[in-house]
């Protein structure tokens, strides 16, 4: 049987998908153990026990200075920044993307500007943001917005502009004004794409979040990673990275679920 025809069942998929991950974990443990056999104080590849020990301190014991549970405070701070940044970007993408996609004069006026902003590397703007907005939360959220909003706007614009002309014409023969074409025809059809754009923007959003936190912050997942780096604390860095990955996956799955739930017509099998 050809490989292109070998379809994998549900159980098989679970097994096959888990195998490389478990193998990777196994390879890590073997390497860590062999390093520890030579030098019991090795910090570069900590054993799971050491990770659990140092993480439990961050998870359950309040910080002496602030009285907070460090891990949860970091998570909350980072998710809040990410959420606000992603929310603002999504709202901008929807409003600006719709206007640009449906209304040719608006596209002619602001399209080049959006393209121009989109090609600037956002990290290059970080100093400007810090100078202009200070070192507080605003600058970090602004970096995420500057980083992902233009890409999302362009994506929604392109999607809306690619709606079949027949649909737009048909809507007009049904008496729809420009505004009604936007809210009744373009907006609902942009929504599944918007969730898709959020999923794709999530990766860059994390990059900008961690960057901003690494440079100027006093709490946050990125801040903690870059802080403990000074002490070679791989036993904290590795669980934090794994936690970030888990959060990213959870958000991604949630968005996919939401899209299927809210917009069944976009996922239905077509004839």
């Amino acid at each position: 049987m050809r490989w292109v025809n070998r379809h994998v069942g549900r159980g098989g998929r679970l097994f096959l998908g888990a195998t490389p991950i478990l193998l990777l974990v196994l390879v890590y443990i073997v390497m860590a153990a062999s390093r520890h056999a030579v030098n019991p104080a090795d910090k570069i590849l900590p054993l799971p026990g050491a990770m659990a020990e140092s993480m439990s301190a961050l998870l359950f014991q309040p910080d002496q200075l602030t009285g907070q549970l460090v891990f949860w405070a970091d998570t909350l701070a980072s998710l809040q920044r990410l959420g606000i940044g992603l929310g603002i970007s999504t709202l901008m993408a929807l409003m600006v993307g719709l206007a640009l996609g449906v209304l040719p004069p608006v596209r002619a006026t602001f399209g080049p500007l959006v393209t121009g902003i989109a090609v600037i590397p956002p990290i290059a703007l970080l100093p400007i943001l810090f100078i202009a907005l200070g070192l507080g939360e605003t600058a970090k959220v602004a970096l995420i917005v500057v980083g992902i909003a233009p890409v999302m706007i362009r994506d929604i614009t392109a999607h809306v502009a690619a709606l079949p002309t027949e649909q737009i014409i048909k809507a007009q023969t049904l008496g729809a004004s420009s505004w009604q074409v936007m809210i009744r025809v373009a907006l609902p059809q942009a929504m599944p794409r918007l969730l898709q754009a959020m999923r794709l923007a999530l990766g860059p959003a994390w990059v900008f979040l961690i960057s901003a936190e690494a440079i100027a912050s006093d709490v946050g997942l990125g801040y903690r990673i870059f802080l403990v780096r000074r002490y070679l604390s791989m036993d904290v860095i590795l669980p934090y990275v794994a936690w970030i990955a888990l959060l990213a996956i959870l958000i991604d799955v949630a968005l996919t679920f939401l899209s299927r739930r809210l917009f069944p017509w976009a996922h239905g099998a077509s004839h």
């Binding site: 079949p164 809507a171 023969t173 239905g268 099998a269």
Partner: protein, 260 residues
């Protein structure tokens, strides 16, 4: 019958390419006009002119004696070969959309009794085209023929002065096409429609139309094919078909349950 649409010396040009030249034409109210012609003979441009998607370069088009604005409006309904229905709305919502746009300029949605009234009207129209049992299905779950039925209902619920069909049955298989022919003839009679249909299918043009217009170029310069535009080269009045020919009706399978 009175003249609904009058073309006075209409030209359509894109730069130095002439698509339609010197078109003079009257379309009567209540007629079923089929447009045939080879590819590139301006059939689609002709339809776009009536639709208002574009304006004539010269000349003018009068509807009920007033010039047409080069913009689509609710007085001219249209059914395209594809993409006429909105994939994000159920059949019922697709059909109420036209009513909602008219009565709710800001929200584009109706609520309460106004909404129920619109739904009733839309349901009646959907039943008339044979989709009474598929009100809550999305277009993705409808077959090609059912999607075209939906597109027709969607257009007719606005009671347009003129219904434009752009190869509406071109993508359907022959059996379903025959059902659709019966349907469109029935609707044309029941709602006293004026229909302009562009088609590639000569047979279809002659069986459905009360008048067949053939568009083509009168003159042809092989060295500059774009220098001359198309116009009406044949204008064939067919017999009046106010009453259905009885033997013809029996030949056509009418899709009563609407399952195609």
């Amino acid at each position: 019958m009175s003249t609904l649409l009058r073309f006075c010396d209409v030209w359509v040009e894109y730069g130095d390419r002439i698509i339609i030249e010197k078109l003079n034409l009257d379309i009567e109210e209540g007629s079923f006009v089929s447009i045939v012609g080879p590819s590139g003979a301006g059939k689609s441009s002709f339809l776009r002119l009536i639709l208002g998607q574009e304006g004539p370069s010269q000349g003018k088009i009068l509807m009920d004696g007033t010039p047409l604005t080069p913009e689509c409006g609710p007085d001219r309904g249209v059914v395209f070969q594809r993409y006429s229905v909105f994939p994000h709305l159920t059949a019922l919502r697709n059909t109420t959309l036209g009513l909602e746009c008219e009565k709710a300029p800001l929200l584009g949605r109706l609520f309460g009794s106004a909404r129920r009234a619109a739904e009733e009207e839309a349901t009646a129209m959907l039943t008339a085209v044979g989709l009474g049992h598929s009100l809550d299905l999305y277009p993705a779950h409808l077959s090609g023929g059912m999607q075209q039925r939906l597109a027709i209902a969607q257009a007719l619920v606005k009671r347009p002065r003129i219904l434009l069909l752009d190869e509406p049955f071109g993508a359907l298989d022959p059996g379903i096409r025959a059902d659709m022919h019966a349907l469109i003839l029935r609707l044309w009679r029941e709602y006293s429609l004026t229909i302009v249909m562009v088609t590639h299918d000569i047979r279809e043009a002659f069986t459905l139309g009360t008048r067949v217009l053939a568009l083509d170029k009168r003159r042809h310069d092989p060295h500059a094919p774009h220098r001359f535009g198309a116009t009406v080269v044949y204008d064939l009045p067919m017999r009046e078909r106010a009453e259905p020919a009885p033997e013809q009706l029996e030949n056509i399978t009418i899709d009563v349950i609407g399952n195609n």
